[in-house]
């Protein structure tokens, strides 16, 4: 029976990498492996975690979750351990450097560690082909793709108020996710749909960016149409999804984008800027835009709001697409991606 060490910077609730790691444990346990978590700090969830400082004897298989620079990756590099890299992408620092001077060190560190991990890793598993391509470029030899493990919820019944349509985005308030483009698009949209509102779910990753967004909305005269509701629990998120007329994502950089999948599963039509991984995750189940100037985005949103046939097509196709990322499908993909590494 194999012993598997899952290395994750922190196991905490509401964190996509943390949730993925917990579900990855289930995949390995179902194959008869014993699993332990190794982390930089104690878990805020009720999970036993071995701190990296006390991690002396590695398991038969080491799987490193990598989304930012970490002491775990440093330990693997220093001890030259054959760790399988489970890559969730690292935001390129140039997207946030004007906003988050404190944050970019971890991003740069994480990207530098990729180069050191490449020769050590017998295999890498990426959330998407987009992420896999980055690893191939860095020099990882054996790269497989398996979508992030996530318990995709079907969502509540839709309760959309078409007289006051809600445009929803879910994601950390960070510059690479381009919330300012959402606000700009809303300002353009309100010229034809004056009751439209923008609801943003997600905790602020940058105070300076959040302050600028508030000022921007105010200057454009749409401050009263924009709600930043912060991080919410699952039930509240489900309610926001049920109320949303459109899910709008104008991010410049995403490695997988779980919220888009959740929106599709909840039957919310998706419109997204065609950048980074979005075309891969959305496929033909949403409208991808090559131009995100305010009126181009507003035209797209208005089209979905005003054309019930298109709206229904996106809802139906979105639900089908979300099934491609169901826990059962993603678990199977992970079993295949780790094939041959877990001894029975």
């Amino acid at each position: 029976m194999s012993s598997v060490d899952l290395l994750v910077p922190e196991l905490k609730s509401g964190d996509a990498i943390g949730a993925h790691t917990l579900l990855l444990r289930d995949v390995f346990v179902a194959q008869g492996a014993t699993v332990r978590f190794v982390a930089q700090q104690p878990s805020s969830m009720n999970e036993d975690v071995l701190l990296v400082s006390a991690w002396k004897k590695p398991g038969d298989l080491i799987v490193l979750q990598h989304g930012i620079g970490s002491l775990l990756a440093e330990a693997v590099i220093k001890r030259r351990l054959p760790a399988v890299l489970n890559y969730h992408n690292i935001t390129p620092p140039e997207f946030v450097e004007a906003w988050d001077a404190d944050h970019i060190a971890g991003l740069r560190w994480g990207r530098a560690q990729l180069h050191q991990l490449a020769p050590l890793a017998p295999r890498a598993v990426a959330d998407s082909q987009y992420n896999a391509n980055e690893l191939i470029d860095v020099g990882f030899a054996d790269v497989r793709v398996a979508p992030v493990l996530w318990n995709v919820r079907k969502g509540n019944d839709r309760q959309v108020d078409h007289d006051a349509p809600v445009i929803l985005f879910v994601g950390r308030v960070a510059a690479n996710k381009c919330h300012h483009d959402l606000i700009a698009a809303l300002a353009a949209l309100t010229t034809t749909h004056p009751t439209a509102r923008l609801v943003v779910v997600g905790s602020p990753a940058s105070e300076s960016y959040q302050r600028a967004l508030d000022a921007f909305a105010k200057r454009l005269g749409v401050g009263g149409h924009v709600d930043f509701v912060g991080a919410v629990d699952d039930a509240t998120l489900a309610a926001h999804l049920a109320n949303a007329a459109v899910f709008l994502c104008l991010s410049e950089h995403e490695g997988f984008c779980v919220p888009v999948v959740e929106a599709m599963a909840a039957g919310v039509p998706v419109i997204a800027y065609d950048a980074a991984v979005l075309s891969e995750t959305v496929g033909d189940a949403g409208i991808l835009l090559g131009d995100k100037t305010p009126h181009a985005v507003a035209t797209a949103v208005a089209r979905v709001l005003d054309e019930p046939g298109l709206e229904q097509h996106l809802i139906d196709r979105g639900r089908q697409r979300a099934d491609d990322f169901s826990l059962a499908v993603s678990s199977k993909a992970h079993r295949a991606a780790f094939d041959g590494l877990v001894a029975r």
């Binding site: 004007a98 906003w99 600028a212 033909d284 409208i287 991808l288 009126h295 797209a300 046939g309 196709r317």
Partner: protein
């Protein structure tokens, strides 16, 4: 409207996307107020974002640099009585020193800002002298290739492995025969209105900058690259860049350049067109230098008489 079935969902979504981009472009051209509003939105963002985080409107950023370059030594005192007196005493105590330091920093900032302005003015005057942006629209855009060229391109690439991209696809004349032959092919053109008829007829045509699409391609992403339209007016440096990027994008594949010969242009076209363009022979020379096997293939189109076919395998 009729609901599309699952099999043509992609074509339906492609059509919707093209219609949206064409509608946005039409509205923007027809209504100057939309353009003004978009500029206002961009200006508002630049005003609240930190320098370097937003937009490319140099003038606004320079205004901002002007304002930020002045350091005020009079720190605010606040309103709470005790704290106010304490801060006031500290300020008095260090005022002469802070004044001395900030005067130097302000002087330096002022010089740097003035230098930036001079630099900006210099670039603007160079752009004016080059008059690159001012002559658009004086001559007609180059016409699309005719069916004979499309058939020739299709016959060259019919059995080709890998996806084909047609850069500068227009309405899809070069894409159509490849698509009908079952080749995985898409087109890219900067004109969202031009591609709309082709998209509506089921072709995979996308609005976007052809050069950017090529630059963003991964190594070996395509089996073949066909470049038309946008390559007509490129100068030597830009053409060389296209050669290098196309070769990287096709790996062991094929690049086809469909361009008229600048020597065939009439005098007005020659004198008013933005760029001078390269002849097929020069394109062939550029590809030949890289070690590609280059053929010049004749067509029945009187304007695009010769196609450049560079094979990297």
């Amino acid at each position: 409207m009729t609901q599309p079935n699952a099999t043509d969902s992609q074509a339906y979504i492609n059509r919707v996307r093209a219609e949206i981009e064409a509608e946005a472009e039409t509205r923007r051209r027809r209504d100057p107020e939309l353009q003004r509003q978009e500029r206002e939105i961009e200006r508002a963002w630049i005003e609240v974002a930190p320098p370097g985080a937003a937009g490319s409107q140099g003038e606004l950023l320079l205004d901002r640099a002007d304002r930020l370059s002045m350091i005020d030594v009079d720190a605010p005192l606040g309103t709470k009585p005790g704290i106010r007196q304490l801060k006031g005493s500290i300020r008095k105590g260090v005022y002469w020193y802070l004044r001395y330091v900030t005067d130097q920093v302000n002087a330096l900032n002022n010089v740097l800002t003035r230098l930036l302005r001079r630099f900006d003015e210099r670039i603007s005057s160079l752009e004016d002298a080059a008059a690159v942006a001012d002559v658009g629209g004086l001559v007609d855009p180059v016409p699309e290739p005719d069916g004979a060229v499309a058939d020739t391109v299709a016959s060259i690439l019919a059995d080709h492995a890998g996806r084909v991209v047609v850069l500068g696809c227009g309405s899809g004349v070069l894409v159509r025969p490849l698509h009908d032959a079952g080749v995985a092919v898409h087109g890219v053109d900067v004109d969202a209105l031009a591609i709309l008829p082709g998209v509506r007829s089921g072709l995979d045509l996308r609005a976007g900058e052809p050069a950017s699409h090529l630059a963003a391609a991964r190594a070996g992403e395509f089996g073949a690259v066909v470049a038309a339209g946008f390559v007509e007016d490129l100068g030597p440096a830009a053409a060389q860049r296209v050669v290098e990027q196309a070769i990287a994008a096709v790996g062991n594949g094929t690049v086809v350049i469909a361009t008229g010969d600048p020597a065939d242009r009439d005098v007005i076209d020659r004198e008013l067109r933005v760029g001078r363009g390269l002849s097929p022979a020069t394109w062939a020379y550029l590809f030949g230098r890289t070690g590609a096997t280059v053929d010049l293939v004749e067509t029945a189109d009187p304007r695009l008489r010769t196609l450049v076919v560079a094979r990297l395998a």
